[in-house]
Amino acid sequence: MSTTTTTQAAAAQAVAPEAGATPVLELAAVTKTYRVKQGMFSAARPLHALGGVSLRIYRKDVLGLVGESGCGKSTLAKILLGLEAPTSGQVLIDGREVTARERTVLARRIQPIFQDPYSSLNPRKSIEDIIALPLVVHKIGDSASRAKSVARMLDLVGLPQRVLRGYPNQLSGGQRQRVAIARALVMNPEIVICDEPTSALDVSVQSQILNLLGDLREELGLTYLFISHNLAVVEHLATRVAVMYLGKIVEEAPAAELFAGPRHPYTKALLESVLTPDPNLSVPDTHLGATYPNPIDPPSGCHFHPRCASALEICKTTPPPHVRSAQGHVDCHLHAVPAH
């Protein structure tokens, strides 16, 4: 199996976890169940947004999290940020479990950057107030030291000091996303959760933000969880990639390995869907059917089986095995190790 071969690119970019290193952030068998009503008069039914997710993020890694709409990416992000409590399972920082009462610890060390730079900034607050808010909430420093921190953040994200007294509606989309990044970094976090940070931006602006995120990681030694539906962007930035499908991580591997040799049929379909700007090629066939699963009533066995071109008989009835490899895992019957 090719999972132990590390390509040159992977060696160059991935920060290989040293043997025995403790992940900065870990999810252990986390589930999240919402109760939702489908019709006006029907009873609430459980929706398993996360169906037992285990994930480790190591220092200075960029973990790319991909998967289709509704698969649970944002739910996972909210749990890491302490904005939602898991239904079961644990969140660990530096190997220590974070209890419900310690949520503020999470908030200090982990900061978010969200997709929409238009709605995530309060339109009635000045840029200075927006960036200083996390310091105020956590009662860090006095007004003089806060002003200094804010000024330093503006430099860091490449905004001129004159925007301080301005308001979000006076800034372009790219500038607003820089403000959001400054606000996230003012707390000196170790981990930044980026949930679709560039998908609302023009292509010409997206690249500036990606460059900035890459530079900041180098400069400040940051660790990222990077959620995106743009696989070319994930391939560009991520050191590791986790692929989600209906609340489960179906494959995880170092980025270079995953892009060079996807193992899960859904990962393969995802990669086949990437449209590189090559005018000599046409739109590829993903070999996926038009059956979209209902998360309230997920398919039996492997959740992916109604769309999977490689599905076996067993896939309809039995959940796939969790097959570990040297640096990751894949959940799929095709990769089951035969029992001897």
């Binding site: 289709e68 790219g174 023009d202 460059n211 560009h236 700007p277 090559d278 000599n280 739109v283 979209y292």
Partner: protein, 328 residues
Amino acid sequence: MSEPVLRVENLTIDIPMAQGTLHAVRGIDFELKRGETLCIVGESGSGKSLTSLAIMGLLSKKMRCNAARLDFSGIDLRKQSPRAMRALRGDRMAMIFQEPMTSLNPAYTIGDQLMEALQLHRPVGRAEARARAIELLGKVGITAAESRLSQYPHQLSGGLRQRVMIAMALMCEPELIIADEPTTALDVTIQAQILRLLADLQREMNMAMILVTHDLGVVARIADKVVVMYAGEVVEKGSAREIFETPRHPYTRGLLRCIPVPGKTRPGEHLGSIPGIVPSLIGHMDGCAFRSRCDVAEVACASDVPVRRTGEDHMYRCIHEVQPGAPS
């Protein structure tokens, strides 16, 4: 050579605002033949959607639209009454929007809406309309089409809704279809499926298609011709191959450097970027609108900029004949 289905010449769209007139579209030209796909790309706010709406006769009343020519299959669209435009829309020309719910009515079943799309324009009975609806749902890849007819839009996923909307747009087999960011809100796998479907149906029905998108990957894979817009103008126009392999305009060239391309850009390396922002479109504008962001701008860029042609269909708008740093 066949006659173009659509000819647009010197199209302008002005929007009166409190601060002055916003010149949203400033004199654009293009044409399109049957069986061709034209992609319009460009910066947000460059006028892509307004151009599409102008062709469909869907601009709001407060906007002023002018053109030296706006011909669709020999019909002068400038002279059509609102009523005549309504008769054309959904019949000989149709539009697909990013958000399917702008076209689907939540209160009616899929079946009713598909059938109405046909019966509004054709003297056919219910049975025939129903058969056509089932046929088209099948064409757009929806399985068990018959059972879908009685479902309401909210009972479908985003990808299925987009398929239904495509089926609805195609009920009367239009000559021209305009799709404005039809897949932007969808997952990449579903985006690929829907685009492939559109391309196949377009070929099968020999339609002319305009696809508005900001995704250069989509453009490269699906376009015959490309129009690159910036601040209400066409800054470059040509075949997909010309635009991607020998782009001339600094904006087009800059855009292509901004995107990570697996296998071409190295992971983690700095991507190209275009600093700065789009100028205000309110009031009179002189010279090249891109000059505040252009890395090869010169003094002459503040005056009239020539239109250059390098082939039958390829044009760009720039003072430079050969781009600095371009392979010649």
